[in-house]
């Protein structure tokens, strides 16, 4: 067996390869932010922000013209807007899982990817929140969402899962943002101390909240970070559970199942990790972070993708089993229609991408092959989008009234807005990697061997 593979399974393996010093990490990560804007970045940013502008323009047209420009109509009253919402919220799950749950479990390998994954979470939730906002049709009445006093004596309906959803996602966004920002403070202070110009110094000084790296500050920081981790841990499980109640509390066959909350959470983590993987592989390559984001990290993530993928596959089969076991003819009908009806093509894309393809990760070779994992992560992203599409379109298009059965076809605006949301996502992401340290420097230093007080320097005897 080759030595590298051996080492990967050795508990003593260093999380960061190449024997870096503290200074090397600071230099490596900070220089990405401090160097001049590269042509490639400018080109990508131009592309992403143009796509984002198309999204903003089409939202303007949507507000002007109404949601009739989308392909939704009776009986499919929820179209791509909700598909995209659930898709993006799902992607936003990996960030908090990596930052909070893995932190509490002392999984030190998370330090290389957490900053990155948390940023992705925040941007994904921003993309997600756009869709319920614009799908209401009369956007000027969107304040109905908020519990504010008004002349109508109207108040949000706290029995409605759509309201739970609003609060769940809102809380998730707030806590994720605080968590991300708290982690950023020491690193922003590092950048501030390295800043050359006065303006840069001042701006970073404001955002680093007067961080000086004193003992007491670190003590408070660590405590705050742990509390936030504790606070976000239940959120990882609750957010997508609540999103799933949008469906599960409705009496629509194919939605009305108790398996939905855990099924959605597993799917969310699955898709979130796939998206982290896609982005991490690109960033790793572009910014030469091979020593920080090692193959071990990627392999660990692939194992999570494999696990959650199988949980999703279990849910798919359990849905089928229950539809038969319950003896409910409507339930049975809708599931037969899913697999063999008019949306069979979408269903089998979903099953192939989410269940069959990730099985390749059983092979250690594939788990450690960069091109393979890149392709698989993209397949998972596609599959998870289709999962939401299948759930929404199949159940609605053949409802209880056969006379209104219809086939859902998206319009050009549906497609533009889905593509546009990726433009928004990548615009925010590119801004992030250009202006903020994409790896948590302070935390990374904590997992280096020399941070361990019992660390013996090489060649020195105790």
């Amino acid at each position: 067996m080759n030595k590298e593979v051996d080492a990967a399974y050795d508990y003593q393996v260093p999380l960061i390869t190449g024997k870096p010093t503290f200074g090397w990490i600071t230099e490596k990560v900070s220089s990405i932010v401090e160097s001049k804007t590269s042509k490639e970045w400018a080109l990508l940013f131009g592309l992403a922000s143009s796509v984002m502008l198309i999204l903003l323009g089409s939202i303007g047209y949507l507000v002007w013209e109404g949601i009739g420009i989308w392909g939704l109509n009776v009986p499919v009253g929820w179209g791509w807007a909700i598909v995209n919402f659930v898709f993006w919220v799902g992607i936003g799950h990996a960030g908090t899982l990596i930052s909070a749950i893995l932190f509490l479990f002392r999984q030190k390998w998370r330090t290389s990817i957490n900053r990155f994954a948390e940023a992705m979470t925040i941007f994904a939730v921003i993309c997600a929140l756009i869709f319920p906002g614009i799908h209401v049709g009369r956007i000027w009445a969107v304040y109905y969402f908020f519990p504010v006093p008004n002349q109508m004596d109207m108040w949000p309906n706290f029995r409605s899962p759509l309201l739970w959803d609003f609060f769940a996602v809102g809380t998730y966004f707030t806590v994720s943002f605080l968590f991300w920002y708290t982690g950023l403070v020491p690193d922003l202070a590092t950048l501030r101390d390295r800043a050359k110009t006065t303006i840069r110094k001042k701006v970073l000084a404001i955002f680093s909240l007067g961080w000086r790296g004193g003992n007491k500050q670190w003590k408070h920081y660590e405590l705050a970070y742990m509390l936030l981790a504790g606070l976000s841990t239940p959120l990882v499980l609750s957010v997508h559970s609540v999103v799933s109640t949008d469906f599960a509390t409705a009496v629509i066959p194919g939605w009305h199942t108790t398996i939905f909350p855990p099924y959605f959470v597993a799917g969310a983590i699955f898709s979130g990790f796939a998206m982290v993987m896609t982005l991490a592989l690109i960033a790793r390559r572009v910014y030469n972070l091979e020593h920080i984001l090692t193959l071990t990290h990627l392999e660990n993530m692939n194992k999570i993708i494999l696990t959650t993928g199988m949980m999703v596959g279990y849910s798919y089969s359990m849905e089928f089993f229950i539809s038969w076991y319950s003896g409910n003819p409507y339930e049975t009908f809708i599931f037969m229609q899913r697999a063999f009806g008019q949306y069979a093509w979408a269903y089998w894309i979903m099953v192939s991408c989410n269940v069959f393809i990730p099985q390749l990760f059983w092979s250690r070779k594939i788990r450690r092959s960069i091109p393979a994992m890149f392709v698989i992560s993209i397949f998972v992203n596609i599959g998870m989008w289709f999962e939401r599409f299948v759930i929404i379109a199949t159940s609605l298009s053949q409802d209880f009234l056969p006379s209104s059965w219809d086939y859902f076809s998206p319009t050009i605006w549906d497609i533009i807005m889905l593509v546009g949301s990726f433009g928004l996502f990548f615009t925010l992401f590119l801004l992030f990697i250009r202006f903020l340290p994409m790896v948590a420097m302070a935390e990374l230093k904590g997992v280096l061997p020399q941070a361990d007080p019992h660390h013996a320097h090489e060649g020195e005897a105790h």
């Binding site: 504010v148 006093p149 008004n150 109508m152 109207m154 001042k202």
Partner: protein, 215 residues
């Protein structure tokens, strides 16, 4: 290393927080107060094409509301009377009154008078006059005492919250059937008793769900 900011800068986030709270409360409060029909709609008193006085007709002369607004008891709409209704009397009375010139012109040409609607609910609200009159809600409850008005003005806010306040507790606004069109009505001392009787008799149960008014 030199200090980038003075010590006072420590208070900036605190000030920012205060400003933020004020902005939030201020924005909500602004729309709550200035966006309410109580502010925007009450007091609407358009100049009508005819200088018609409710005070003279309904007040001094004591003509019943239903003489002109004929369908108020049987239909969703109370109806603005056609010129013919005016001419029932004014073919004999006030023949040389210049204020009646537009009415006579309308009578001769056959063109309706373009009365301006004062109490105008949004199109997505389905208000039914007959249901309210039958239940015993006085005209005055929504339109105010028009018998005192020379030119009609919107006196109540007609907001959704205002509608709901009565739908949730109609007791103070229910009258015996023969007093529905009375202006300047004062609730008698045993109003609670009377209202309870009316509610029981007519099985009054005002809807407070959305589809009660928004079909």
């Amino acid at each position: 290393m030199a200090q980038i900011f003075s010590k006072k800068a420590n208070l900036w986030p605190f000030y920012a927080l205060i400003v933020l709270v004020f902005l939030l409360v201020g924005t909500v409060g602004f729309f709550w107060y200035f966006g309410s029909p109580k502010y925007t709609d009450v007091g609407y008193r358009p100049v009508q094409p005819v200088d018609y006085s409710h005070k003279l007709h309904a007040g001094d002369l004591g003509i019943d509301c239903r003489y002109c607004h004929t369908s108020v008891e049987v239909s969703a709409k109370a109806l603005v009377p056609p010129t013919e209704t005016c001419m029932n009397c004014h073919s004999l009375v006030g023949l040389d009154n210049p204020k009646l010139e537009p009415v006579r012109a309308s009578w001769e040409s056959g063109q309706s008078i373009n009365w301006i609607r004062v109490h105008d609910l949004p199109d997505y609200v389905f208000f039914n006059h007959s249901a309210h009159i039958t239940a015993g809600v006085g005209c005055e409850s929504c339109h105010g005492n028009v018998a005192k008005e020379k030119r009609v003005m919107q006196q109540k806010e007609l907001s959704m919250g205002w509608c709901l306040s009565c739908h949730r507790a109609p007791e103070q606004h229910l009258r015996p059937h023969d007093q529905v069109t009375v202006m300047g009505w004062q609730a008698p001392e045993n109003q609670a008793e009377i209202a309870a009787k009316i509610i029981a008799e007519k099985n009054i149960n005002p809807p407070t769900d959305c589809s009660g008014c928004h079909r």
